[in-house]
Amino acid sequence: SQQGEEDPQALSIQEGENATMNCSYKTSINNLQWYRQNSGRGLVHLILIRSNEREKHSGRLRVTLDTSKKSSSLLITASRAADTASYFCATDAGAILTGGGNKLTFGTGTQLKVEL
């Protein structure tokens, strides 16, 4: 089953504008991650925010996490045509394992289109 639900399902903006996507989830988590997927490069990890963090930045990306509301947002500033892709949030809610990664549950995704 899908853990996260992204909002909006689709977003179209002009180059240079900011894009904001939201994700809601249902259970307690260890961390929440955002991934980007386009036909050229497949699914790529963007940023991870841990459950004890409230905000994180990476380049033009800003992620916030509100565990009390079980929600997260991804802000892409000064968008470019190359940002056109589908964006997924993924929650890591599994038991801590040694020596490796954990089970991710992906949301339904937001399709972002950045027009010139």
Binding site: Q2, G42, A90, G94, L97, G99, G100, G101, L104
Partner: protein, 115 residues
């Protein structure tokens, strides 16, 4: 470093036929995942390996899907017999215990169409 490799990239089969997908993870990555992504949805985990042992296969339809990771490196995912609803992209991912433990690296996927 080389990324996650998958083959074939595309496969078209008829229902009730069998099909196999292959994945080679990033060198040194102990954990390997297979995901199914149906058009318009996010990826869904099918099975997770830690070295050559299965960690989680709770969402794998075991009556028709099987997977193995011999020697803890390459992995194969098989569907036998295939159904129309198996049409999807099958993604392989791997992760390492070193560095950022929670980051998964994905391959390009195998797009399966069942007719």
């Amino acid at each position: 470093e080389a990324g996650v490799a998958q083959s074939p990239r595309y496969k078209i089969i008829e229902k009730r036929q069998s099909v196999a997908f292959w994945c080679n993870p990033i060198s040194g990555h102990a954990t390997l995942y297979w995901y199914q992504q149906i058009l318009g949805q996010g990826p869904k985990l099918l099975i997770q390996f830690q070295n050559n042992g299965v960690v989680d296969d709770s969402q794998l339809p075991k009556d028709r899907f099987s997977a193995e990771r011999l020697k803890g490196v390459d992995s194969t995912l098989k569907i036998q017999p295939a159904k129309l609803e198996d049409s999807a992209v099958y993604l392989c991912a791997s992760s390492s215990p070193l560095g950022e433990r929670r980051t998964q690296y994905f391959g390009p996927g195998t797009r399966l169409l069942v007719l």
